[in-house]
Symmetry: C2
């Protein structure tokens, strides 16, 4: 490509260093790639689209500094860092990776569920010399998973994939979400009812400004001393301080968490919190899902630049 052609090429901004692997596939389309986290980035003001990880906040102030912006293409499923209504009012389209990793996230949720319930991570530490072959307190036998009641918070593609999996483990399923929908499983009247009626609560809802702390101290205590909470959605959906306090004094039995209020979560925050399995927001990332999500984001930029309708707009 000649310098003149490159000068004329559209500028695509990537929003965070963790998206650096996007540079090559975007550049391969003949686009100029600008790194949004470099304040001195000269091309920034020219950006037509942002390729983004939706959990990271994009403020109206930042977006207002990009006069040519028309698209935020989230590589992620979630887009809680993006104010979609504000974007819509300012002529900016928002897309996301809807459903592209639902099966992977559900696998990970079931992995966290079994690992937390059956003491798999704790057992691994004991076998490796962290306190004896079968520490009686850390390896207390648990009830069978068969017959336990699972409550799913948010019955989208991930929630449904979790439901199918836990049924195969002999567990029963109920769910709650703010809106009714046709489903194979009963919907609880309220989240608190669901929590009271569940041995295991799996959080798989979309995070929004309106549902911060949805899983409150009251909901956590309703799951109770023998119960387990699994979160593969977003840390903001749980009152994490209340969760930690409840785990420490036994008002909640166990937790399996892939997402946190702050990421990376400070290790010292979890040092004295028993009966937890923690993973670093890896539920959705597989060698199958990542290329699909990358390819869709690139394709959405291409469609947008060509004036065609984008795929999977945020709703």
């Amino acid at each position: 490509m000649s310098d003149t052609a490159l000068d004329a090429a559209p500028v695509i901004l990537i929003s965070h260093p963790m998206l650096s692997p996007m540079q090559a596939p975007l550049a391969a389309q003949g686009w100029r790639v600008a790194r949004g986290w470099e304040l001195a980035e000269p091309d920034r003001g020219e950006a037509r689209a942002i390729v983004h990880a939706g959990e990271i906040p994009l403020t109206p102030e930042f977006l207002s500094s990009l006069p040519k912006l028309g698209l935020i293409a989230n590589v992620s499923v979630g887009y809680d860092g993006v104010d979609v209504a504000w974007c819509r009012a300012h002529g900016i389209e928002v897309t996301h990776a809807k459903g592209l990793n639902a099966e992977d996230v559900a696998d990970h949720a079931v992995g966290l569920l079994i690992a937390a319930w059956r003491n798999i991570a704790a057992g691994d530490q004991l076998v490796r010399g962290g306190g004896g072959w079968r520490d009686a307190d850390r390896m207390r036998p648990q009830p069978s998973l068969k017959g336990r009641k699972v409550g799913i918070v948010g019955l989208g593609a991930i929630g449904e994939a979790v439901a199918r999996r836990v049924e195969a483990l002999g567990m029963s399923v109920a769910w709650w979400a703010p809106r009714e929908k046709a489903a194979a499983w009963p919907r609880a009247a309220t989240l608190l009812d669901l929590a009271r009626d569940s041995d295991i609560l799996v959080v798989a809802a979309r995070a929004e400004a309106s549902n911060r702390g949805l899983v409150s101290k009251e909901v956590i205590e309703a799951v109770g001393p023998h119960g387990l909470i699994v979160n593969v959605a977003r840390g903001s959906l749980i009152d994490e301080d209340a969760l930690i306090a409840a785990l420490k004094d036994g008002r909640l039995g166990r937790a399996g968490l892939d997402v946190f209020a702050e990421e990376p979560t400070p290790p010292e925050r979890w040092a004295d919190v028993p009966n937890t399995v923690l993973t670093p927001h890896t539920a959705g990332g597989t060698t199958d899902s990542i290329p699909r999500m990358v390819a869709q984001a690139v394709e959405n930029v291409r469609l947008f630049l060509g004036g065609e309708p984008v795929m999977s707009p945020a709703s």
Copy 2:
């Protein structure tokens, strides 16, 4: 009960300190309980039955020292420590907990499978401060579980329960066992064929003297650098030295193990072995299964002492 009645009560031997919780339910039947690991135990020679954990060797020499012995009631499913043919030839019946914890063992197998494949135990250590939020080397993304091929070694109650569960995760199932049987899934011609054709090999076979080291170096290498071996059966079924060597130099990808060549397994044996999840032989022990297994062992002693046919004889 008077001293005379107690003197006349049948003596039941428990074979290992880990079976100490059996003392109360046996004594509650009015039987005298002798502790087999105490050499000075005066009642030992009077034992009519042994309540046993089947993985622990009971030698013919030891059994020959018990002239009144007529029953070995295993609280466990496995009874690889008992020479059933020798017992039969010497008029000693052997029973076990056939099928009483199959669903629990299968749950744990699936937990080990997902935890090993999706880096859940490694991720837990990273989040807790063991090397950064997402250590690139220890948290390499993996392929989706959906579409992977699972080979099950031994299609008894546990193997079938594993098969149903992994199908719900979108994986395909094949199996191998020495004997053909009617099954919903295809049987491979040989174990080596099964290993070559599987991404994940789950060992769920009954351990016998004849199948020590069944999962050999050749089988381990056929599962390969991207493959995973899960073992919830017995450590003796795998050539553990070959397994460790293959994990260390990358000829095998991953392992999830609940059972070991020696138990407790020495922690230093696993210090430099990557991509492993290890649990201390807890797959079958839940607050639902343990009382069932205890109750059946007690009932078998009762049936035997009353001259009635026992339940679930070893075959």
